[in-house]
């Protein structure tokens, strides 16, 4: 149970926990309380298909850093009554079933504050979570959070943005553990046609400050993107593309659909013949 990327590029999969999708089966309709079984099955299949790390997204009523796909998923999961407590229970189940996978809680700050930060830290550690990423918590505001993460041995993962100047990147890199999440472009989460040159330049700048793995996310949606990321980073994060697949599936078909999607990514990445990222981490690759 650690965050490790054994192959290049590694794969981080984001899932909005408790999202039943648009077409829940009859016995798992929008009625009733939270139901995270569909998210669990997708996570397990994703791990078996090659995901190194699963980010379990805690649904929030006001996801201002997210684009339409994750907004819709969050809205569905919140409507089902999905709580942080349920997401932690789901993490424990995934940990028990797949001891080797990396497991990260991905949340906005308010649900964690309301739960009470020390309680969250204790219970996340007890559930077997490896790391935590809080979207709207920047490193300067993270004093008590960093203390709590250190106390229970969880990795605090911070976002790094193309707009972050070097002094901020240094603070982000030196306060992060597990990996650094490099945002591929300005903007909210969501798919896009092509990657910009922002991502490679950002990863190169981050590596000046840390030897931690760097994962690139936002807008990564196909095998070509993953292969491109593999040329300069350690892992790719896929969120909206998979959340959208889940949206269009039923809870029964979603795990298989997501697994096929992930297998497709890795096959392409291997066929691409990209070497290990470490060989040329400072070369910025320009994408058309």
């Amino acid at each position: 149970m650690a965050i490790r990327f054994d192959h290049k590029p590694g794969l981080v999969v984001y899932l909005t926990a408790g999202d039943p999708g648009l077409h829940p089966s009859e016995d798992k309709s929008f009625a009733g309380g939270p139901d995270l079984s569909a998210t669990r099955e997708v996570a397990l299949e994703a791990i078996d298909a090659g995901a190194d790390v699963i980010e379990l997204g805690v649904p929030f009523s006001d996801p201002l850093a997210d684009g339409p796909v994750i907004q819709r998923a969050s809205e569905r999961a919140v409507a089902k009554g999905t709580r942080l407590k349920d997401v932690l229970a789901l993490a424990a189940e995934i940990r028990a079933a797949r001891p080797q996978a990396g497991l990260v809680i991905f949340s906005y700050l308010n649900p964690i504050l309301r739960y009470w930060l020390p309680r969250f830290a204790d219970e996340a550690a007890a559930a077997g979570v490896d790391g935590v990423l809080v979207t709207d918590l920047i490193v300067e505001e993270a004093g008590e959070y960093l203390i709590e993460m250190a106390r229970v041995g969880l990795a605090p993962i911070f976002l790094a943005a193309p707009t972050s100047p070097d002094d901020r990147l240094e603070a982000i890199a030196t306060n992060s553990k597990g990996f650094i999440y490099a945002i591929s472009r300005v903007g909210v989460t969501g798919t896009q046609q092509s990657l910009t040159s922002d991502a490679a330049a950002l990863v190169a700048r981050i590596r000046r400050w840390t030897g931690l793995p760097v994962a690139v996310g936002f807008g990564i949606s196909n095998s070509e993107h993953v292969a491109q990321v593999g040329r300069f980073a350690d892992a790719a994060v896929i969120g909206s593309a998979i959340v959208e697949l889940i949206e269009r599936s039923t809870p029964e078909t979603a795990p298989g659909t997501v697994a096929r999607f992930i297998k497709g990514l890795h096959l392409s990445a291997a066929a691409d013949g990209a070497g290990p990222a470490q060989e040329s981490p400072l070369v910025a690759v320009h994408f058309a």
Partner: protein, 405 residues
């Protein structure tokens, strides 16, 4: 109560903190822009030419100073404290929002930004922003919840006539909170070219401080005017509190004058259940929403609650962080007035003084109507009449069953 995220260094030494409240809780992508804004604002604040241009526009374009008017008939009818009205409703565009929009508009131009975005609830900030963008020749996009667009249609039309693009927001409660989220998504996407002209004393540092500074003129004038008219300070200053920009502007100069009561009036809506009001101090708990740590209406799982008010401008789940600090220190008092009392206050002020207040401002009037009769005649209440009510005629006609043509 919920844990407070302690800053890495003591809060007093950190910019943008009001006690434990405030701070910066934003996606990393926005941080560079917030730091740049903070520096540019500090530079502008100390730039005599910038201040002179702003003062000139506030005087000749917006119509400052606004009068402090003794509501004589209302005072006589109520038979208690004297009631003065600070007439921000007489400003160009019809509300105090123009004070801040002019200040930030000049700042945006100084920073070389050609595109301005804003959120709006009641539409007054949207209209003020659209106005300033027209004046300064900048592109303007305003985000507004679908519910608010329907209930403040006149302001939608005004913004469009002024050349702004109004984008409806259909997420969540379709009101101010959702408009802010959508404006923040736009900003995070276009951060390199776009200035976010936030309309209230909310959001991440430096906005709460900067917006308060641009609204301070209200309290500065109020104090001069009441001293000139009465030779003494008022018993209380009363203002409505949505995000809280008119209230903090009215209160700020009086904070050191501990004998002056500062009374903020929240929207009591249609009841006390979560979702039926926007009374953050009685129904909320500390939390983080849209960049700042303050009181937030939320459920036990930290999901932000829906709100209700007859007034679109007070219908927000959080409140400016400086108000949270003033609340906890006891320096200011926060009360609420419900929809019914607010509608009564509109009619009372209209028919007694010939002044039609905005529904937002009428919450403050309602508090004065309640308080004045309980106080002796030598006491003085100053009500910040933050906006005029023309925009609300649709709602008023429906709620008060006023016949049209």
């Amino acid at each position: 109560m919920a844990s407070v995220i302690l800053p890495a260094v003591p809060s007093e030494s950190r910019p943008g903190r009001f006690g434990v409240y405030g701070g910066r809780y934003v996606p990393e992508t926005l941080m560079a822009a917030l730091v740049e804004l903070e520096h540019e604002y500090e530079a502008a604040k100390n730039d005599a030419a910038f201040q002179a241009e702003l003062a000139g526009l506030l005087k000749d374009y917006a119509g400052r100073p606004t009068p402090l008017y003794l509501a004589k008939r209302l005072t006589e009818q109520l038979g208690g404290a004297k009631i003065y009205l600070k007439r921000e409703d007489l400003l160009h565009t019809g509300a105090h929002k123009i004070n801040n929009a002019l200040g930030q508009g000049l700042l945006a131009r100084r920073m070389g930004k050609k595109r301005v975005i804003a959120e709006t609830g009641a539409g007054q900030h949207g209209v003020a922003t659209a106005t300033v963008c027209a004046l300064l020749g900048m592109e303007c996009v305003v985000y507004m919840g679908d519910v608010d667009m329907a209930r403040q249609e006149l302001n939608v039309l005004r913004m469009r006539l002024l050349g702004a693009e109004v984008r409806g927001v259909s997420a969540g409660s379709k009101t101010l909170k959702d408009a802010i989220s959508e404006a923040m998504r736009d900003w995070v996407t276009n951060v390199r070219t776009t200035y976010y002209l936030l309309g209230s004393a909310l959001g991440a540092h430096p906005y709460p401080t900067m917006v308060r500074d641009f609204q301070r003129v209200i309290g500065i004038e109020m104090k001069e005017q009441i001293l000139e008219k009465e030779g003494r300070l008022p018993t209380a200053v009363i203002a409505c509190v949505g995000g809280g920009s008119n209230a903090i502007g009215a209160f700020y100069e009086f904070i050191p004058d501990s004998q002056v009561r500062l009374i903020g009036v929240e929207a009591g809506g249609r009841g006390t259940a979560l979702g039926d009001h926007a009374a953050r101090f009685s129904g909320g708990a500390p939390g983080v929403l849209q960049g700042t740590y303050s009181y937030v209406l939320q459920d036990e799982n930290g999901q932000i609650a829906l709100t209700h008010s007859v007034s679109a401008g007070l219908d927000y789940a959080s409140v400016g962080p400086e108000h949270a600090a003033l609340h906890d220190s006891g320096r200011a008092e926060y009360v609420s007035q419900d929809d019914a009392a607010t509608l009564d206050a509109v009619v009372r002020l209209a028919r007694t003084e010939g002044i039609l207040p905005a529904l937002e401002s009428a919450h403050a009037v309602a508090e004065a109507l309640k308080l004045a009769p309980t106080l002796p005649a030598h006491d003085i209440l100053v009500v910040n009449l933050s906006g005029r009510g023309d925009k609300d005629m649709g709602i008023l006609a429906r709620e008060l069953k006023i016949q049209g043509a």
